[in-house]
């Protein structure tokens, strides 16, 4: 077994009196590809923020390489972990090349950014997601799919062994969803990246990741390989729907069919 | 006039917002009492002992001054309400229409370059300048723009006018400066029946017009798209309402100079006392509060540092800034 990258022990988190995380325990090891699934507001994104140390838990521990994530220097964390947030606010006037070059900050520091704006790593990151052709376009003029790939190459420019993605397929049409997820899958396979992805679609989780962690009621409701975890029982307990789970011979992954909402208990 | 309207409106409002109804009755009673008290004080405070002199002072000096304070304050309050409703922005103040700056600029040009204009005609010149200033701002904004653009353009234009005014003022000497002070700060000192005669016909003319635009304001409140769907030419309606507000302010600027902040504070206080988004319900309150504040401020201007008179505008500005900060902090300005 490889060494643990993230260790979450009994993490509690409260947001304005509402309990978001109520004792989550989880270990992510180097080289894993993990999907976090669950209903809206179940704490997936919060857990992601705790993993990067952007927030500290109200109780329990969240460790990055054995040390509390929030207590580490931001730049040290950014050299270990790259995050793709759900949304990027508009950045008027910035070109793709300039934005991706900012991903080199954790390695080069404030003054290093002044002298050589672009370097080989940034160019490689552009090439890896196939956006080299867009390099001199303004970020704000790109389509949703293009923008998502640009942001992925921004994260790659950080050259971190760990990649966290917060719903990378939101606002994308089905073609771009598959494009982005396949790209992440390929990077995981080729470079051995550790990937944690918050996903809405169970089918995507089943097909593109090795391990599915389902959150419900602020706790881990299920954790394991997609074929073991994604079951009708999970659909009922975590998502509150009656549904079926079918094997898809073409992709080799399971597929879910949600039939009807269950009565709220 | 305000009491019956508010009583009728009070029952309607009470049905909608029961908890506040309790507090509205005292306001409906207190406002007329406060107004009456302010009027009495203005007329009676520190009258000369000699009966004949007193009568002259009362009739020739205090009556026109009181009349202008009441009507001018009401006009500016109503103008503020019109602007806030037409631009759907609680921060739209008449000062952003370029009206008071235009008036001051016209007066300054005449005084500084010693143009041959008799002193008695100065209010007319200021009035004309005020109308031109407002017209410039509205022409720059045009009829095809959204409320935000209109506000931004108005602010830019009035800032530019202000800069030109200050540049002209730079060439003034001490004596000319004293003459112009009224148009920078606003004051009711030395108001006579001549001034009142200049202002009153315009205000009387504007009264029915204000009532006429009220329905359009109700439609504008729904937002530009909904208003267009109801068949209103939004751009034109907005410019018409703003033009009316500009004339209301200009008429006051002519004889008195800018009575700052009344146009901002009166509608907001009206909205506090009588929570309603409907301009029709707010109108009498805004007018009454405008009149009350101006009269009280003028009382303070005359008597606070007697025998010296402080400029009225300084008092309204001081009160207005405090009120503005309080309103912002309390979330009265959304």
């Amino acid at each position: 077994m490889t060494e643990p990258v993230f260790t979450v022990e009994q993490a509690h988190y409260r947001y304005r009196e509402r309990v978001v995380l109520d004792g989550v325990s989880l270990t992510v090891r180097a080289g894993e590809s993990v999907a976090l699934v669950g209903r809206n507001g179940c704490g997936k994104s919060t857990l992601l923020r705790l993993l990067t140390g952007a927030d500290r838990p109200d109780g329990g521990r969240v460790l990055l390489h054995g040390r509390p994530a929030y207590a580490q220097r931001r730049r040290d964390v950014a050299r270990q972990v790259a995050v793709l947030h759900q949304q990027l606010p508009p950045v008027p006037g910035l070109t793709v090349r300039q934005l991706v070059a900012q991903g080199r900050y954790p390695h080069r520091g404030p003054l290093g950014m002044l002298w050589r704006p672009e370097d080989a790593e940034a160019s490689a990151a552009l090439a890896a997601t196939g956006v080299t052709a867009l390099a001199d376009r303004q970020v704000d003029t790109l389509s949703g799919g293009e923008r998502q790939r640009v942001r992925l190459s921004l994260a790659l420019a950080q050259q971190t062994p760990v990649l966290l993605l917060d719903e990378p397929t939101t606002f994308l049409d089905v073609r771009h969803q598959l494009e982005v997820l396949s790209l992440v899958r390929r990077l995981h396979a080729e470079r051995g990246l550790t990937v944690v992805t918050v996903l809405h679609e169970l089918d995507h989780a089943a097909r593109f990741t090795d391990r599915v962690v389902a959150l419900a009621g602020g706790r881990v409701a299920a954790d394991g390989a997609p074929s073991d975890v994604v079951t009708p029982a999970l659909l009922a307990d975590v998502f509150g729907v009656r549904g079926r789970v079918l094997a898809d011979a073409h992709t080799g992954a399971v597929r879910t069919l949600a039939d009807e909402p269950l009565e709220e208990r | 006039m305000t009491a019956p309207t508010s009583a009728a409106g009070g029952t309607v409002g009470a049905a909608l917002t029961p908890p506040r109804a309790v507090r509205r009755w005292p306001a409906a009673v207190a406002l007329p009492i406060a107004l009456a008290a302010a009027i009495l004080l203005t007329l009676a405070l520190a009258l000369p002992a000699d009966a004949e002199v007193a009568q002259v002072v009362l009739w020739e000096l205090r009556a026109p001054r009181l009349l202008l304070a009441l009507l001018g304050g009401a006009a500016v309050g109503v103008a503020g309400l019109l602007m806030q409703a037409a631009l759907r922005n609680p921060l739209a103040v008449p000062e952003l229409l370029g009206v008071s700056t235009g008036g001051a600029l016209a007066a300054a040009v005449v005084v500084v370059w010693a143009l041959p204009v008799p002193a008695a005609a100065q209010p007319v010149v200021a009035l004309a300048g005020a109308v031109v200033g407002g017209a410039l701002c509205l022409a720059a904004a045009g009829t095809g723009r959204g409320p935000g653009a209109v506000l931004l353009i108005g602010a830019a234009m009035s800032t530019a006018l202000q800069a030109v005014l200050l540049a002209v003022m730079a060439a003034a000497d001490r004596l000319q400066y004293d003459t112009l002070f009224r148009y920078l700060v606003g004051s009711l000192t030395g108001i006579t029946w001549d001034h009142a005669r200049l202002t009153l016909p315009w205000l009387l003319l504007c009264g029915p017009l204000v009532l006429a635009v009220l329905p359009a304001l109700g439609v504008l409140r729904l937002g530009d798209e909904a208003a267009t769907a109801l068949g209103l030419h939004v751009g034109r309606a907005r410019v018409a309402v703003l033009g009316l507000a500009a004339v209301l302010v200009a008429v006051v600027v002519g004889p008195c100079g800018p009575i700052a902040w009344i146009g901002f504070v009166a509608p907001h206080v009206a909205r506090r006392v009588r929570p309603s988004a409907d301009a029709r319900a707010l109108l009498p309150w805004a007018a009454a509060f405008g009149a009350l504040f101006t009269t009280v401020a003028d009382l303070a201007a005359r008597h606070a540092f007697a025998p010296a008179e402080t400029p009225l505008g300084a008092w309204t500005a001081a009160v207005g800034i405090l009120a503005g900060l309080v309103l912002i902090r309390r979330g009265g300005v959304s």
Binding site: Y105, P110 | A149, A156, Q162, L166, A171
Partner: protein
Amino acid sequence: MRWWWAVAALVLAGVAELAVGRGIDWPQLDPLEHRILVELRLPRLATALLAGAGLGAAGLLLQVVLRNPLAAPELAGVNPGAVLGVLGGIQLGLVPADSASGALVAALLGGAAGGSLMWLLARDGSPAQVAAYGLLGSAALVGVTTLLLAYQPGRFGNALRWLVGSVDGRVWAHVRVAWPWLVTALLLAWLCSAVLGMLAAGDGHATALGLSPRPVRALGLALSVALAAGAVALAGALAFVGLVVPHVARALCGGDLRRALPAAALLGATTVVGADVVAQTLTVLVQSGSAGQRLGVPAGAVTALLGAAALVVVARRSPHVEVS
């Protein structure tokens, strides 16, 4: 290429600034005219350069750091606060009327206070709300200033310098106090520009890249207050320079702060020098004869007209500017 044009425009404006105005008969200079050139016109040029560069850079920093296209020093409370600080200080006798360093300190304190007040009032608001509060704040400033001046109208001429902005009558003594401050702040701002620019894409973005947004934003705000207040202490609140120049700079050089910041400083300097050339020309045209001791047409009036024209054009082109 564009840099060459910008530099050429600045040089041209600078030469014009030295050439126009009364008191010098080109090309033969007698000793008196030589003194006018060295002791009046050169410091005047330096004042315009410094003030313009400071306001332009401060405006750009504010826009980027607050992620608000309408955040300008005059709308974010910095300029009004600085003006009020200087005028209040003079009026209350805390600052000698002609002390350059006193004015600088007063402007810094006032600018920081005004900026903090606006920040407290409007930090949760939309960009347009911040601007609206700013307009209100400027109107409040005029009110307070009239209160201050109500009893001493004789000081109006002096107050005018700061209210509207003018480089008239600034001599080497003023420049000597201001330039180390402004140049240091400009250099610091440029050294931090790469980091400050990362705030433009949002706090989440900055955090993900290993940058704590709060201290960096505080640094950016402090630098912009330092620049704007320094400029105001020197030449007053030149209207619209801090609002319009950064937009032009960004349109020419893109959103990358490392290049946009020097561009904004350069353009700001060019604008103010050019505005003062126009103002001086107007002064010669308007004031003939005895008015020599009075303040000429202030450069701030020219920038206000230019800026208002630019704003009106922009607002008319984009019907969807929303301010509420």
